[in-house]
Every structure is written in structure tokens, then in C-alpha cells.
Symmetry: C2
Subunit: 309 residues, 2 copies
Amino acid sequence: MSILFCSDSEDPAPWRDAIAQALPGMPFRVWPDAGALEDVRYALAWRPQPGALARLPNLRAVLVLGAGVDSVLSDPALPLDLPVLRLVDAGLVEPMAAYALLAVLYFQRRAGAYLRQQAHAVWQPREQLPPARWPVGVMGLGTIGRVVAQRLAANGFPVRGWSRTPKHLDGIETFAGRERLAAFLAQSRVVVSVLPLTAQTAGILDATAFAAMPEGSYLVNIGRGDHVVDGDLLAALDSGRLAGAMLDVFREEPLPAAHPFWRHPRVVVTPHVAAPTVAADAQAQVVENIRRLERGEPPTGLVDRSRGY
Amino acid sequence: MSILFCSDSEDPAPWRDAIAQALPGMPFRVWPDAGALEDVRYALAWRPQPGALARLPNLRAVLVLGAGVDSVLSDPALPLDLPVLRLVDAGLVEPMAAYALLAVLYFQRRAGAYLRQQAHAVWQPREQLPPARWPVGVMGLGTIGRVVAQRLAANGFPVRGWSRTPKHLDGIETFAGRERLAAFLAQSRVVVSVLPLTAQTAGILDATAFAAMPEGSYLVNIGRGDHVVDGDLLAALDSGRLAGAMLDVFREEPLPAAHPFWRHPRVVVTPHVAAPTVAADAQAQVVENIRRLERGEPPTGLVDRSRGY
């Protein structure tokens, strides 16, 4: 029996150490040096090679090293009955809420305009609306979205929320379903997306969505890059429909050097840092889940594969 | 009897309208077209010409059009017994707290580093400490400083406060007096100054202060430009002692185009917008104070001229 680490982008070393300390005697291998495939009982995966997990006949569970599981579920070869576990919080929520707040304040306080002015030594105060006149719409109202919404509201911004299925949040008006999306967007001076990536949400931030947003509004994307139709966003920025965007996630990461987002004067690019996984929390969660599975207890973070999160 | 508007930088028109509506029959004049000097009973002042107020023999009070009164008190000709009234809050506090939070998040989340990277299409996540390991020091614990401190604490930052005289704030460690300044600074990863400008605080942010701050720390100045010794700040930035500064106030405003702050890669310049005076609130306060003085009642915002605020 062994644990197999399946990721080309993540460093296996800290995970090897954590497993060796917490589960001594459990062999730790790193794909493609998997040893005997039939020995692998657990896979720790982040963007695994498509098809790799399907080659492990005795795999009991995939433990995804993040909150988003789209890079695992998108593998068409993934056995349908294989349990997929995701990280729950693991220190992800607080940094996401703080990133969203920073982005909203950045736009509301005209920071981008002042940085552009500074490049030319221009002293020019800009009109600035108070938070009370700066409604923010949060797309996605799960564990992360709820905290994002509450954090923004606590800092004086009127907040509305949208999700696929109806949700209730104290003090926050919520909209549900695709048919209410335009009404939600029309009232949002900034839209913050923390949606999970599913077949229903891929490409949801497209020309139709941007056309529904108020003239001169802003987009903050800390969900997944595939939510955004890049060309539609660029067109909306160039037409003035959108006044700016702060983007942390992209269809291809690292964002290719030739991508126009890098050079667009109204786009801020950050390198997928809204929620750096806090290693110690994440490792403790993965170890605890392996222990639970070994004891036959229910694990945390079991993904509903029909929903996709 | 008349009201005289004394400012070269502010627009008198909205004040004329507000006074005409609230105090009909009270002549409103704009310096230097003051009419008969002995008729002037109240002066509305923002950076008045030095010596101007001393020429008004029957002046009952100076109503300063902001929270900071240094530009009025610095006039050596100002009669010693003339009451000086400042705006109290008038919507100043909330924007100051939000600006401080934006600045602290900007530095803690490495926004400046990511903007510099973006200019070269560089995708490179940076080390980022959580708010719990990012202590912020607030200098000045009056009406504004208290709210700034509480807002930062509510967003997860450990906050300490410094003031000239001892103050108590729930949940916030406070330091008082010049002899405790170095100990306060040594524990602050970001120092946010909202101090009033007095003889005791002018030049307080100098080489000695920066040397007491931790290596790689940050400065946010939303007090007054004269608190900072500009050359000392530039030297501290260039030596790496300070990692960055966000400055909203300057010794000379507008900041001269040749000033090195404009071009320094680790300085963010904003054009004195941390607390745009909310015109309607400010006008209501000034009108109410004139009414109180006319009725012989105590006004709000009376400045203790021995303290300077």
C-alpha cells in the first residue's frame, strides 16, 4: 500500500515530509515513479496528468491539494465511483475575503487612476463615491463566497449575492439561477466571482454578462480563469462598459507572456495568489482524511461529482 | 456684519450657496474682496493668507474648513484669543479608515510587487505573511486614529497605537510620549500616521524613526506632509530599511512635479484624497456653529491652541 503524489506543478517535498512524520511506514511516491500501480491506495493530486489516476486499480480516494477540483474532475478517464476529496477552508477563506476587499477598495478609491497619474506626476483628485453608493455583487455563495460577502458588508459596502441554487445570507440580498443573473449583475458596481468551475459556470462571464453590468463597473475574478471569456472581457474594457478588472486566475497559468491582459492599462494581473494554500493546514487535513479512510470513517470535503464541487 | 471666505485653493461657490440658504441676510464675501473689514464677524478659512485674519478687528471666530488647523494656527499674526473651530468628523473618519486599510492590504498582499511584475509580464508568486503576523502601528489616537485602529483590527491585523498623551483603546496596546516612540515603531510592520501637525509632531517621521522600524517595513502617511522628513524617507527606502510608502499628504501640495516621490518605484502618491471633505456635512457643521455663536452657545470643534488640535 502506498501514497502517490500526482502533480507536475507542485513541490512534493513538504508533502513527503508531512506524510513520513504523520503516517510512518506509508510509502510515498511521486508520479511517474509510481512503483507497483496496484499498491497505490491514495493519490494526492493537483492538476494530475489526464489518465494517470485511471491506471491505479486499487485507488481508494483522490485527495485534491486545493479547494477547486475542476482539474481532477475534467479528466475523462477518472473512474466514476472514485471518491474525490477537496480541501475545506485550510486557511483559504480568509485570504480570499481579504483579496476581494483589497480589490474593491482599490477600484472604489481610484487607486489605479492615481497610479497611472503618478507615472506622469499628475496631481488630480478624482470623483469618489462612498462605499454606501458602491454595491458589490458576489458570485458564488459557498464557504468562500459567504465570508467574502460578509467581509465586504462589514466594511460598508452594500452586497448582493448570486448562486446557482437559492441561498440565504443574513443581511444580504441573494439571487439564484441563470434567469436572475442579469438582474443581479445590473445592480453591481463591482462583480467578485468566487464560483467553482463546472459545466454550468464555464464561460459565464461573457459579453452577455458584461452587457448587463452598469456602465463603468469592475470585475474581480478569484474563481477560475475558465469563467471568463477573455476576448469578451477585453472588448468590454475597451468599449468602456467595464472600467477595470483585477484577475488572479486565468485559462492558462502561468498567464502566457503574450496575453493582452498583461499589457492592458485597466487590468491588474496577480499570479494566482488570492488564496495561497496554507501548507500546514492543508497537510493536516490530508493526513486526517487518510486516517479516517483507513479507519472506515467518513472523510471531509467529499465532492459531489454531479455538482462538480 | 458679514462672513468672509478666506482660501486661495477652495471654491467659495458651494459655501456661498449654503450660507445664503441657511443664513439669509448674512453677507458672504470672498477675500481679498472683503468689503468693510470691521463688518466681518466670521471667517471660513482653509490655508488663509498669513496676516489676513489679523486685519479683521471684530472677528468672533475662524471656522476652519477641515479637521487639520495647522494652516491657520501657523499664522504668526493670528490673534491669541481668537476662537478657532475645526470640522469634527464631517464624514472624514470613515474614508480615512478605509484608505488606511487599503494601504495596509496593498502592502501585505504585495500589490506593488505584482504591479511591477506585470509591467514585465512576470508571473511570480511572492511570499506573503498572514495579517496575524503583520502588526500595524497607528500614530495619533484621536477621533480619526481610534477608528483607523479599530478598522484594521476588525480585518485581522494586530494593532498598536501611539499618541502624545496616554490613551485607552479596547483590545489595542497603546504607547504614549516621545520616549516610547522607538519601542512602538520597532513592533510595527506598517506605520500609519494620522497625527495632527503641531510643534511636537513636525518632522517626527525622520531618520531616527525609520531606523527604529523593522527592516522591510512600510509607511502610510495620511496626517500631514510636514510630519515626514522627505530626504530621510527617501534614504530609508533606498537603503531597504523601508520597503514602501503610501503618501497622501506632502510638505508642498500639489506635490511639485520634480519631487522624487513621484518617480520612486516604492512610493505610491495620492493627491490628498484620503479624506475628501464631504461638502454637505461640512457646510451643515459650519452653519450650525455660526448659529450657536450667534445665540451665545458653545460651538463644536473648538481648538485647544496650546495643543494645536
